[in-house]
């Protein structure tokens, strides 16, 4: 009969209309600024640099090996290696990035930098409220802007962060076992790695 299908369709929408007042399933809106969807563990948006300890610059795990720069598909990372070295978390003398810029206006959030980083120094942030009216000043992030503490990393990706810390602790233990004599010196210079693994 002509009109039967139309009536069925009307019944369907009516069910959704009335359902929207009673059932959460039929009112799926999450009112963003006030309500927020939980971000899953894996959520990623832009990379940040992890640092251990309190000093956001001295504690950077990055050793300026420039692998991420090379592997970054859209080439949005720019690193300049330092001329001097500083000890890293296991006390080994390493270079550090004199300049570490990420152009988030180019970044495609692919996570390849994280994957290729042998030092777990770069991780993915999940902050997304980054809209800005100023392209040039707001979207090129320097080392200072990129550095975030390990606690922040733990905060947003607890499982991954724990895994990373375990791995780092292991590496550290291995390094300590290898180079027993320098342990004392390195621990004094890098007290933070202890705090983070705990």
């Amino acid at each position: 009969m002509l009109g039967e299908g139309i009536l069925k369709g009307l019944a369907e929408t009516a069910r959704n209309f009335f359902g929207s007042f009673v059932s959460k399933e039929r009112l799926t809106t999450v009112q963003f600024p006030e309500e927020r969807l939980p971000q899953p563990e894996a959520a990623r948006n832009f990379p940040f640099l992890v640092y251990d300890g309190d000093d956001s610059q001295a504690g950077l795990r990055c050793v300026a090996c420039q692998i991420c720069e090379k592997e970054c598909p859209p080439k949005c990372i720019f690193i300049q290696k330092s001329s001097d070295k500083k000890p890293d978390y296991i006390g080994k003398q390493q270079f550090y990035p004199a300049v570490f810029n990420i152009d988030v206006s180019v970044c495609m959030s692919c996570q390849i930098c994280v994957e290729v980083c042998p030092f777990d120094a770069i991780e993915m942030d999940n902050a997304f409220e980054l809209s800005t009216t100023d392209r040039f000043r707001g979207l090129l992030w320097s080392r200072e802007q990129l550095a975030k503490p390990n606690s922040y990393f733990h905060n947003i990706h607890p499982a991954t962060a724990a895994e990373v810390d375990e791995r780092l602790a292991e590496a550290k233990a291995r390094a300590e076992a290898k180079a027993k004599p320098t342990v004392a010196a390195s621990t004094t210079s890098q007290p933070d790695s202890q705090t983070t693994t705990s």
């Binding site: 299908g5 369907e12 894996a42 592997e71 598909p73 495609m108 692919c110 290729v116």
Partner: protein
């Protein structure tokens, strides 16, 4: 939109029936509400009937192939996400498959299962979106599209918790998958898969028997079997024309031979068949998902031979293809032994399915053109690359 030049007709021509050859040329797009982005059709109309239709491409030509030829194999993986940006995981798979063929990598069983699960979820995502947009093009004021996106969001949540991103998953790697399933993901997926048929039922209730929908869809945009094969049409469009050709069955790539599923076939090859084939295909996908989720084995995720960094396949070439939601998605790679592919080519299903657009639309009205175009199911990122 330009008017056809009015010819200086001779008296005899005029007497023969003037006004006959007065055709109207309209450009639909590149900014048009229903050309799925920046597609453009130059349409020649006789009244409201389409006489000629020329698709114009390139408004989203993003030089994917050129960029990939100057980037490492791995670096192209996130770019494949952006080909058919509605179903990034199948793109990943097609590319990974081609590289695996090129380098001779073996994918562990668990990774194969996960690939199947994600690919079939992607098929659901794509088909819901397509059908939603189709109704939008028929002028429904958003409701079916909203319902479709409501379900799509549930699957996107799964993708996000698995891969970290809603759309640009960048999940598969040569020889496996990138990360292990997060805790609780399987249960969540099972729940979504359990609940999905209800949405399909509701959707069919809303549309399938609706007289207006039937009037708009049935007998419109008929694509004949022979033409479909000749023009290399693939995917649901081909099957709606009655050709039994599904690469999941033909190539049995991955582990598709282990699953019990059927291929829905249309008879008329019109818009309604293309819609219904997609609806039925979703139900079949759910069957596969049930089986895959049930049988998912434990084991490693990556081929131990695979390397993330410094990946250099031997010189040679390979063509790998899969049944993406839109049709046959193929990657053709030529390696010269360097870290970058020498030639990197995407065989996009959308572009080639568009070959028959003019044949399907000729003789139908402009409103039908929009609907027919909707059932071709293109994504510009893939068409123009």
């Amino acid at each position: 939109m330009t008017t056809a030049p009015v010819k200086e007709a001779t008296h005899d021509e005029r007497a023969a029936g003037c006004g006959q050859d007065e055709l109207l040329e309209i450009a639909l797009g590149p900014h048009h509400p229903s050309t799925h982005g920046v597609f453009r059709m130059d349409v020649v109309l006789d009244g409201e009937r389409v006489v000629k239709l020329k698709p114009v491409f390139g408004y989203l030509h993003r030089n994917h192939e050129k960029i990939a030829e100057s980037a490492s194999y791995l670096a192209s993986m996130p770019y494949t996400d952006r080909l058919d940006y509605i179903c990034s995981l199948t793109n990943n798979w097609a590319y990974a498959l081609a590289v695996e063929k090129l380098a001779g990598l073996q994918v562990p069983e668990r990774a194969e299962y996960i690939r199947v699960i994600t690919a079939e979820l992607t098929r659901l995502v794509n088909h819901t979106a397509t059908i939603g947009f189709l109704t939008q093009e028929m002028g429904a004021s958003g409701t079916p599209l909203m319902y479709a996106f409501r379900e799509r969001e549930k699957i996107l949540d799964l993708f996000e918790s698995l891969t970290g991103s809603r759309m640009m998953c960048n999940y598969m790697r040569f020889g496996g998958c990138r990360v292990e399933l997060p805790a609780g993901w399987l249960e969540q997926t099972k729940k979504v898969v359990e609940e999905f048929p209800r949405f399909l039922d509701e959707y069919e209730q809303l549309l399938t028997g609706n007289e207006i929908f039937m009037a708009r869809a049935q007998g419109v945009g008929i694509l004949k079997k022979d033409l479909a094969i000749d023009a290399g049409v693939t995917g649901p469009m081909l099957r709606a024309s009655g050709v039994n050709y599904d690469i999941r069955k033909v190539d049995k790539y991955g582990i598709y031979d282990r699953f019990d599923f059927k291929i829905p076939l249309g008879e008329h090859g019109d818009v309604y068949d293309r819609y219904m084939v997609r609806m039925l295909e979703m139900r079949e996908s759910l069957k596969i998902l049930h089986q895959a989720l049930r049988d998912l084995p434990q084991g490693p995720l990556m081929d131990p031979k695979a390397k993330i960094r410094g990946f250099r396949p031997k010189p040679g070439e390979a063509y790998g293809r899969i049944e993406a939601p839109k049709g046959e998605l193929g990657f053709y790679l030529i390696s010269d032994g360097s870290p970058n592919p020498y030639r990197y080519r995407v065989r996009p299903p959308s572009l080639i399915n568009l070959t028959v657009l003019e044949d399907m639309c000729r003789g139908y009205s402009i409103a039908d053109t929009i609907v027919i175009f909707g059932t071709v199911d293109i994504v510009l990122g893939e068409v123009d690359r």
